[in-house]
């Protein structure tokens, strides 16, 4: 891979990490808040259903994770398993798609 492409991957991972750091903090605060009156699916769906704010928030959260995780996993696979090259690239791209599809599907499920 070219120096430019690898540098862009690094920037993408750092940028997505910034987004994830904010998202995780908000997510944890919401969990603590949601637990106060006992946890129920109805209460959660009452908060998320039809709420465009939560749709956008969790949509961004999922996309950031789908960018961040495969880049990190790519580095781990090359260093720890010695797996490099095109096959690894295809595999982590697939992972990115799977994470994005499953995540966005879940986000949509609690919205619609």
């Amino acid at each position: 891979m070219s120096a430019r492409a690898e540098t862009r991957l690094w920037i993408a991972q750092r940028a997505s990490a910034v987004v994830l750091a904010l998202c995780v903090v908000v997510h944890l605060i919401v969990i603590v808040y949601a637990m106060r009156g006992g946890l129920s699916a109805a209460e959660i769906l009452g908060r998320t259903r039809g709420n465009a704010g939560w749709l956008i928030f969790y949509g961004v959260f999922v996309l950031a994770a789908a960018v961040h995780a495969p880049i990190g996993l790519r580095a781990i696979c090359s260093e720890w398993l010695g797996w490099r090259g095109r096959s690894l690239s295809v595999a982590v791209h697939l992972l990115a798609v799977v994470l994005a599809v499953l995540g966005l599907r879940a986000v949509w499920a609690v919205f619609a």
Binding site: A3, R4, T7, S78, E79
Partner: protein, 237 residues
């Protein structure tokens, strides 16, 4: 007379530690111990040294599991229960005993474009670099490297990724990126970007912890990450 029990690596990649008894002296360095063994006990012991005063960078070895410059390492600092274990540097092929093949280490300096690309000719006047300019300060922070290989031997990323250029070569590249006389900035940033370069560094900081010259290659590598990111965003890379 007190003696020191010294276990010294014998052989190449395949080998074993051999026990020697060496008289303990005041202010004795690890290099003194190795030299005593080679001159008095076993003349076939292979090791490397030159200046003995911490300038040449040739005597680095693994002492009780830690890479150190042996000429400036006192036995009193590293001995454990009157024992010391001395082996070759990690992450480099062993030629014999304590001597490693350092070709790959120095080839990586060349791959990181560690040579100045001059922009001036002999007809030009001397370059004037203000000592307090940020670039000069950044170059000065890394310039005292003696090429001993301690950082390279201490780096886990080098062990995991044999193509990784390593802390010393990247530190050298960073001093040149900050050299206002140099004319190969973008080529050098291209050479040090990516999985074999600065982006492979995990900031473990073993290099910075172990560098006998108190250089912080980790900071230099972070500088390269910033410089390559800016160059990539500008479309220069």
């Amino acid at each position: 007379m007190t003696t020191l029990q010294v276990d010294v690596w014998r052989g190449a990649e395949d080998g074993r530690y051999q026990r020697f008894e060496v008289p303990r002296e005041a202010n004795q360095t690890v290099l003194d111990v190795v030299t005593y063994i080679q001159r008095r006990l076993d003349a076939t012991l292979a090791y490397r040294f030159a200046c003995r005063v911490g300038m040449c960078g040739s005597c680095a070895m693994t002492v009780n599991g830690v890479a150190r410059w042996t000429c400036r390492t006192h036995v009193s600092k590293v001995t454990r229960d009157g024992r010391v274990e001395i082996g070759p540097l990690r992450n480099l092929p062993v030629i014999r005993d304590l001597a490693t093949d350092m070709r790959e280490f120095f080839d990586k300096w060349a791959r990181a474009k560690g040579a100045l690309a001059p922009t001036a000719t002999r007809k030009d006047d001397f370059a004037r670099v203000p000592p307090d300019s940020p670039q000069r300060a950044a170059a000065s922070a890394g310039i005292e490297c003696i090429g001993c290989g301690v950082c390279y031997a201490s780096c886990d990323v080098v062990a995991w990724n044999p193509d990784y250029l390593g802390p010393a070569a990247l530190n050298r590249a960073w001093t040149l990126v900050n050299d206002v006389r140099d004319g190969a900035r973008i080529e050098r940033l291209r050479a040090v970007a990516g999985d074999a370069g600065c982006h492979a560094c995990h900031t473990h900081m073993s290099c910075t912890e172990r560098c006998p010259k108190q250089i912080a290659p980790t900071a230099s590598i972070a500088g390269l990450k910033r410089a390559t990111a800016i160059a990539a965003l500008k479309g220069e890379l």
